[in-house]
């Protein structure tokens, strides 16, 4: 039995890309095409849909190797521009965590703290080819006698610099409000008391995993745009959980799927990788990620055609429930509503504003699109699937065909 009316392979699409004949559009454009032409015709016409997201992703970091010194040192403690980095690896390997804060920072002693420099900024400065101060302390061994080492370095002095993010591109997120009677400073931004504002953080209809809700094409080994360079999906990200509540169209209502991403920092572009200082919360890394979705059949066309009006998030209270890890929601709201600038909770009109940049997410999707059109980027065959949702069956979630 033929399951789908349209059946394409990644190999065929790559041949079209090489011939310069592939039809590549971004996920925002796909919404209209699917609406106008239906999923079968859309699947026939479109070969690749590019997705994008540009937001702050705390679970990010980088492995670097600073090369052996003379005499040799085994790093025990290390800093880059006074930001502590992890040295509990081989002698000259280090890991820079995005949320590591510069030593001596007053943190939240004067609340809300500014957190002006941290690991995310170190990563941005490396990618921007700026000079940083590396400071290393060793404890001296017979094979690694040196006790300390300080040097001005740029990324060119490093023998290895790889961005390695344990969790990026959360499938969906939440909408944050504050029901308490004091302002809170969170990773979801400033939330004013008595539900005076709401924030959200997702590229919605443009976001990679919202366009492939059952991980049919995004898999281990998928080649992606990471920080303006080429990267790969390395593995499911931390907290990846496919078996969550979904709408009748299969769209998740919480973070659900996540991706671990990896890529060569030297080829990245600082316009797509930014150190972030989040008032009262800490430092982090803001990064652009773009993932191509091959339109192999009409079901994938259907999923990529989903728009902001079809994607919902739960509203959660970051004033008291979230910090106390209480599960309570204030209902659901669509991205279409959130992007309109206000939402309604219990009849109260509340202004809503984003945390992640849709404007730059389009830039990411468009950059990836141009790479594919220019034959600079081919689609990769998945090496292995991400952990799959138990309830998924082919065609089960297609509505209004």
């Amino acid at each position: 039995m033929e399951e789908y009316k349209v059946n394409k392979t990644i190999k065929q699409i790559n041949e079209k890309i090489k011939r310069g004949e592939a039809v590549v559009i971004n996920a925002e454009e796909m919404v209209d095409i699917v609406k106008k032409e239906g999923i079968v015709d859309a699947a026939k016409k479109v070969d690749v849909v590019t997705t994008g997201t540009f937001g702050t992703m705390c679970s990010s970091g980088a492995f670097i190797n600073f090369g052996h010194t003379t005499p040799r040192i085994k790093a025990y403690k290390a800093w880059l521009n006074d930001v502590p980095v992890y040295a509990g690896l081989a002698a000259v390997d280090l890991f820079i965590g995005a949320t590591s804060v510069k030593e001596g920072d007053p943190l939240n002693k004067v609340h809300p703290g500014n957190f002006s420099y941290g690991g995310g900024h170190v990563i941005e400065d490396l990618i921007a080819k700026k000079t940083l101060e590396l400071r290393v302390e060793g404890y001296g061994t017979d094979c690694y006698p040196r006790n300390s080492f300080t040097k001005k370095i740029t990324i060119r002095d490093l023998s290895y610099a790889t961005l390695c993010n344990p969790r990026n591109a959360c499938q969906n997120y939440t909408c944050a409000i504050n029901t308490s009677d004091k302002t809170v400073y969170t990773y979801m931004g400033i939330l004013k008391p008595h539900m005076a504002n709401a924030t959200y953080s997702s590229a919605g209809q443009l976001s990679p995993l919202l366009n492939d809700p059952f991980y049919l094409t995004i898999a281990i080994g998928t080649r992606i745009l990471l920080g303006g360079g080429i990267g790969y999906v390395a593995f499911p990200g931390t907290q990846h959980n496919p078996n969550v509540e979904r709408t009748e169209r299969g769209i998740v209502l919480s973070a659900a799927g996540t991706l671990a991403c990896i890529g060569d920092m030297e080829k990245m572009n600082p316009a797509f990788v930014r150190g972030a200082s989040i008032l009262g919360y800490g430092t982090s890394l803001t990064i652009g990620i773009g993932i191509p979705i091959p339109i192999l059949n009409e079901e994938i066309a259907y999923f990529t055609g989903i728009g902001d009006e079809d994607i919902y998030v739960y509203i959660e209270d970051y004033g008291s429930d979230y910090p106390q890890n209480k599960e309570k929601t204030y209902g659901k709201v669509s991205y279409k509503q959130l992007k309109s600038g206000y939402i309604e909770i219990n009849g109260k009109r509340i202004s809503s504003s984003p945390m992640s940049s849709y404007f730059e997410a389009i830039e990411v999707a468009e950059t990836l699109k141009s790479w594919i059109k220019d034959k600079k980027f081919l689609l990769s065959e998945p090496q292995e699937k991400l952990p799959q949702a138990k309830k998924y069956k082919p065609r089960k979630y297609i509505r209004d065909e």
């Binding site: 937001g55 702050t56 972030a276 992007k339 504003s353 984003p354 849709y358 404007f359």
Partner: protein, 134 residues
């Protein structure tokens, strides 16, 4: 009638002189105080909106300058570094006069209207990439 938002800095020598009260009396200006603070070394800063006839407003400002008050225009002081701003939208919720706002719901670009700014400084604090300065 025109209105101008200004930042007035009063040095130690003039901080206790009754200068501002002349504005409505002598120049027919109305004002709306947005923020007033005395800094540790007893320097005073007053942020306010001045409203009146264009000519009189200019005379009023000249009067302030003659009396050793440092006059700066909010509109010219608040700046967004367009290279740095990545249109995340974090600043929107803290900007009371909607000087930072998303007008275009398709592109979701964050528009910036310096003339609406009241120099509260919140965007400077919250912008994660330090794109705003005052």
């Amino acid at each position: 009638m025109v209105s101008k938002k200004v930042i007035l800095t009063f040095k130690k020598e003039v901080v206790d002189k009754p200068i501002v009260c002349e504005l409505p009396k002598e120049f027919d200006l109305t004002f709306n105080i947005l923020e007033a603070k005395i800094l540790p070394r007893r320097e005073g800063v007053l942020i306010m909106e001045l409203i009146g006839e264009e000519e009189k407003l200019q005379k009023g400002l000249d009067y302030l300058i003659q009396n050793n008050v440092i006059v700066e225009f909010v509109e010219q002081k608040i700046k967004r570094d367009e290279e740095k701003c990545y249109h995340c939208g974090i600043c929107i919720s803290v900007c009371p006069p909607e000087a930072l706002v998303i007008d275009d719901k398709k592109t979701m670009k964050v528009s910036f209207y310096p003339d609406r700014c009241i120099a509260c400084g919140w965007c400077v604090k919250v912008c994660p990439v330090k794109a705003m300065s005052l």
